[in-house]
């Protein structure tokens, strides 16, 4: 009896979660007249809406921008945070503990609080309407999570390993890159997977800084498209389908890392 109730709840939850998503996918194949009839199947599998999206926008370019921005930001963040965490995990002086706190507590600073000075700073650096601006800001925002994950992980690596490497004549820097960094692979993968989603999905920073159509990220391009083609719902649904299928596929292929990220990083906060 309880079992049946549990399954009932789960199926309702699955329906509530997936109906809006399915509605988008189905509608993307409907003609604009058919879209008004909800819960019907499209009369035929036509790709007209998709064709219009590709003709009237630079979606492939926008997707490439998102890939480039996300990839660069995450690479920078991995490099910087793994190095910093190596120090933070191995030194116990109050000075380093303080820096650790400085990194972690920044998670409480909302982007909105810094909106004005960020805009001024990017202006001064001459980075308005450049993808570099988004890369730098996104990398900086990904740092607290990285410090949290890496510091925890490195603390679990026995020190004896470094002692014997130092007897073998490794210096600090070559020791980090040749011995320690390869050992960090599991946590690096987890970190890359979970932070890339938040960089990919960011909307406020691209909205603030990117103007040129060909430089926009996919999320910003969706926004620009919906405000321009207000009445072409078929095309909007097609674009929405393209825009959400990428993170969803990425998630399905990397599920394990998403769940691991929660257990490794979040819960040990």
């Amino acid at each position: 009896m309880i079992r049946k109730f549990q399954y009932f709840v789960l199926y309702v939850a699955v329906a509530v979660i997936s109906i809006p998503v399915l509605n988008i996918v189905l509608s993307s194949f409907k003609t604009n007249e058919e879209i008004n009839r909800v819960f019907t199947l499209p009369s035929s599998l036509q790709f007209d809406n998709y064709r219009r999206v590709f003709e009237s926008s630079e979606i492939p370019l926008n997707i490439l921008n998102s890939l480039g921005i996300t990839g660069s930001a995450i690479l920078i963040a991995i490099f910087l945070t793994s190095m910093a965490s190596y120090t933070l995990a191995r030194r116990y002086e109050a000075f380093f503990q303080l820096i650790y706190l400085l990194f972690i507590s920044a998670a409480m600073i909302p982007v909105a609080a810094n909106l004005v000075p960020l805009y001024v700073l990017i202006n001064k650096l001459g980075l308005v309407d450049t993808r570099t601006a988004i890369v730098l800001i996104s990398a900086a925002s990904a740092i607290p999570m990285g410090i949290l994950l890496y510091t925890g992980f490195i603390k679990g690596i026995p020190k004896s390993l470094e002692e014997s490497a130092s007897i073998d004549g490794y210096g600090k820097i070559s020791m980090f890159f040749k011995i320690i960094f390869p050992l960090l692979k599991p946590v690096t993968v987890t970190y890359a997977v979970i932070s890339s989603i938040s960089v990919w999905n960011d909307f406020l920073m691209p909205l603030l800084f990117l103007r040129t159509e060909s430089k926009k990220t996919i999320t910003l391009a969706v926004y620009a498209f919906t405000s321009e083609y207000v009445n072409d719902w078929g095309a909007i649904y097609a674009l929405l389908t393209i825009a959400f299928i990428i993170p969803v596929l990425f998630f399905i292929l990397n599920q394990k890392h998403f769940y691991n990220g929660m257990t490794d990083g979040a819960v040990k906060m």
């Binding site: 079992r3 920078i76 380093f96 600073i109 909105a112 609080a113 993170p247 998630f251 257990t263």
Partner: protein, 295 residues
């Protein structure tokens, strides 16, 4: 010699920190300092000259009903999201902790919305909540006409609609954190509780809940900071309306800075917002940490 080596070690340890620290100070703490500075000025964002206005901006925040309202709306949105959200997430987690058939499938589907951008989620829901949208049409076709509402343009309910969408999006995310917490409860504890005759509600309140408090701590932290920052939902679905009932703090800062060109004023709202989030999360961390038990 030893001190020389210690010194060298200290310097190389610092060198490892420098790159991360540079980027971080430039894009996190330097802007925060500048927010503090601008918030005492009347800068419009363009003029070379501006004046020091002492606490005028901060006094205005509490007198201008629109901004005061934005804080209230944001708090209301966060409270509803967290209360209802926690119940939904925990409920789903408690069901999925049992070895049910299709466990993986359920987890995957439920987690999915949290990897999609809030902007896309907002656009997805428009066709449901607009006046001639799917929800009202379904209500009409099943004869529940009295439930038909102007979901996105009714000052009394629109903020709740936004909260519902937020809860919908993050249900699976919190659920996974709670599942992790529930799985970490040692079997001996569960067996001992069963032997002592603990069942149902009392077992949940006295055994399960205290033991998953670490997961609750984390989840609350993520939900509070996330819900308070909400921007995309009102930006896309309502534009802050009707009658500013869904105007949130982030939207208010954005509009004050870039629509009305009041950079100084926007900074003071931003600083107030930061202090507000910091104090709130510190209180939350203290309370939930204290409720954690050792076993």
């Amino acid at each position: 010699m030893i001190t020389k080596r210690a010194k060298r070690d200290f310097i190389s340890a610092c060198l490892f920190l420098v790159p991360a620290l540079c980027l971080f100070l430039t894009f996190k703490y330097y802007p925060l300092m500048m927010t503090l500075y601008y918030s005492f000025t009347n800068w419009d964002g363009f003029s070379k000259a501006f004046e020091y206005v002492s606490f005028d901006n901060f006094l205005n925040i509490f007198h201008e009903s629109k901004i005061y309202g934005a804080f209230m709306n944001t708090i209301y949105f966060a409270v509803i999201s967290i209360l209802v959200g926690t119940a939904v997430q925990l409920g789903l987690a408690i069901i999925l902790i049992n070895k049910l058939k299709g466990n993986r499938f359920f987890r995957t589907i439920l987690y999915m919305p949290s990897v999609i951008s809030s902007l896309i989620i907002s656009l997805t829901w428009i066709s449901f909540f607009q006046y001639n949208g799917i929800i009202n049409r379904v209500l009409e076709s099943v004869g529940l006409d009295m439930l038909i509402r102007n979901w996105l343009a009714d000052a009394d309910i629109t903020i709740n609609v936004l909260a519902a969408i937020n809860i919908w999006q993050w249900a699976g995310y919190g659920m996974i954190i709670y599942i992790t917490g529930l799985q970490s409860i040692p079997t001996e504890v569960k067996e001992a509780a069963a032997l002592d005759g603990a069942t149902g509600w009392s077992k949940f309140m006295r055994i399960t809940l205290p033991l998953i408090m670490p997961a609750v701590t984390v989840n609350m932290f993520i939900s509070i900071t996330g819900a308070l920052k909400v921007f995309e939902l009102p930006f896309i679905l309502t534009g802050g309306g009707p009658m500013n009932s869904t105007n949130t703090v982030t939207m208010q800062i954005y509009n004050t800075a870039f629509l009305s060109n009041q950079f100084g004023y926007a900074s003071s709202i931003g600083l107030t917002f930061f202090l507000f989030i910091a104090i709130l999360t510190l209180i939350q961390l203290r309370i939930t940490r204290r409720m954690e038990v050792e076993y």
